[in-house]
């Protein structure tokens, strides 16, 4: 084992964990204020049950020795996952690092179903999804599964994380259905600074995501780090330029989105391509997502926070371009199309298609089965009130006026304010 590698991977794991709260802010800022807490909770809550099922079974299905399609239950309950070396770091640390990926991937899906999905149905969905969809797909690419044998390149999860989540998001948006106001009323972000804060923190955490995927503190991590800086920068620059050339203003929500798209695009390529290629990839990657965002809003598909346009198209573009730009001279790995290996592009395409199909089909089945047991969405009236109040019993921005304290003993509280204390002084909540 190598202590430098361990030190970096400890930090990288914490960085990736931060991305889930960051995603909560990114998504939370983009919804209406009456759904702000629910939207943020959809990301936050993944830190609980998803992490637990990952430790209990998910990790084992993904990374325990097994077949080409799935691992085994050899590591179930973290049996045999101790401080012995896995590469140059402790096995336990490797499990934690992978766990942070498993946490954020289902949280990404929430962007497609915010403001109307019932919270307990969402909770059941992501907990099952991480075991039945995420774990096998992670195994295919990183656990010695068949996509790895095919030679598919996915450095930090373009297909495993982003295409996977976006395919599930597309299906979830269709199965759950659009918000009642979608296409009828303007639905505006309630706090754009939150979205920008989230995008900034995502970028920060993404250095752990991509450079940490080197699983060591060496040159590959440095290359992935540089590419994680350069690709989103190029996407942001290109996005801005498209805004200006189309004669429009340069928007803040657009900039925050561009950063996320650039990060997604470079994810599968981070440790395989040259820094110059990262700039090219970031720039190219801006186009599909930019125009898909504009197009999607005109359709009936209520992928509310554009998981498909940002993560799906970004992830697919990144995965395919990895097959174009991969350079043995930089990575010591395989060459892509530019290095005279056109076959890599087809391998990349195949890996995207396979993940897309599996994730979509499984998500559809899972949601349809859940729908037999519990309603997937809240009623139209509750949608009007907002999911914060209906599913969480809280509000994001309450001022406490008219809040009557429910005393512990009173089961049926008197309706008049005379025998109750109004909590209006603030700070008491």
């Amino acid at each position: 084992m190598n202590n430098a590698d361990i030190a970096w991977m400890l930090v990288a794991t914490a960085l990736v964990l931060l991305m889930t709260p960051a995603l909560a802010f990114f998504y939370g800022g983009l919804v209406r204020s009456k759904n702000a807490l629910n939207t943020m909770m959809m990301s936050f809550v993944a830190l609980g049950p998803v992490a637990v099922v990952w430790a209990l079974v998910g990790y084992s299905l993904a990374f325990a020795p097994g077949g080409p399609a799935i691992g085994s239950l050899a590591f179930a309950g973290l049996r045999g996952v101790g401080l012995e070396a896995q590469g140059t770091i402790p096995h336990l640390l490797f499990m934690c690092f992978q766990g942070t990926f498993a946490i954020i991937t289902p949280a990404l899906i929430s962007g497609a179903v915010v403001e109307r999905m019932r919270f307990n149905a969402y909770l059941a969905f992501i907990t099952l999804w991480v075991v039945l969809v995420y774990a096998p797909v992670a195994h295919w690419v990183w656990g010695g599964g068949f996509l790895a044998s095919m030679g598919a390149l996915d450095f930090a999860g373009g297909a495993v994380v982003h295409v996977n989540a976006a395919s599930a998001a597309l299906v979830a948006a269709l199965v759950v259905g659009p918000r009642k106001d979608y296409g009828r009323h303007a639905i505006l972000p309630h706090n754009v600074p939150f979205a920008m804060l989230g995008a900034g923190l995502l970028w920060f955490g993404w250095f752990g995501f991509n450079a940490g995927s080197a699983l060591s503190a060496g040159t590959t991590a440095s290359l992935a780090f540089a590419n994680t800086l350069l690709a989103p920068a190029a996407t942001l620059a290109t996005w801005t330029l498209i805004d200006l050339l189309r004669g429009g203003p340069v928007t803040a929500v657009g900039a925050a989105t561009a950063i996320v798209v650039g990060l997604v695009v470079v994810t599968p390529a981070a440790g395989y391509i040259s820094p110059a290629s990262a700039i090219a990839m970031g720039a190219i990657g801006a186009f599909p997502s930019y125009f898909a965002l504009i197009y999607r809003a005109k359709t009936k598909l209520d992928d509310s926070l554009d998981v498909v346009a940002a993560h799906g198209l970004g992830g697919a573009t990144g995965a395919i371009l990895t097959g174009v730009f991969a350079e043995a001279a930089w990575s010591g790995g395989p060459n892509g199309l530019m290095g005279g290996n056109p076959g890599q592009v087809l391998t990349q395409l195949a890996s995207v298609a396979i993940v897309l199909a599996y994730s979509g089909a499984m998500t559809f089945t899972l949601l349809k089965l859940l729908a037999l047991v519990m309603p997937l969405r809240i009623g139209a009236r509750d949608e009007g009130v907002g999911v914060d109040v209906t599913d969480h019993g809280e509000e994001a921005y309450t001022h406490g006026d008219g809040a009557i304290l429910v005393k512990p003993k009173e089961t049926s509280v008197a309706r008049s304010a005379v025998d109750a204390v109004a909590v209006s002084s603030g700070g008491q909540l």
């Binding site: 009236r381 109040v389 019993g393 809280e394 008219g402 809040a403 304290l405 109750a420 909590v423």
Partner: protein
Amino acid sequence: MKLIVAIVRPEKLSDVLEALFHADVRGLTISRVQGHGGEIEHVENYRGTSVKMALAEKVRLEIGVSNHFVQPTIDTIINAARTGEVGDGKIMVLPIEKIYRIRTGESDQDAVTPVH
């Protein structure tokens, strides 16, 4: 001339505005208010503190209209704001002594007649 004061659900505001504009009611003012209208209070919980929210978020519209616009405005608001549940709101019609349009100094009927 009447001043129509309507209290409606915030989630119905878009519907009401849309309907009013279709009905050619173009001059209005809204404010965010809180009130109690007999609806069942919902309970919220914050770290072990349970509170009943006795005041619900509402939107108040104030619309100065000439006499022949009074009934159409009321009908429009009722149709657009109704859900059938307690808490849909109220409409109050008040007499107006004088209205002035600041820009021109016009008064009364002229002041509330939209300029096309």
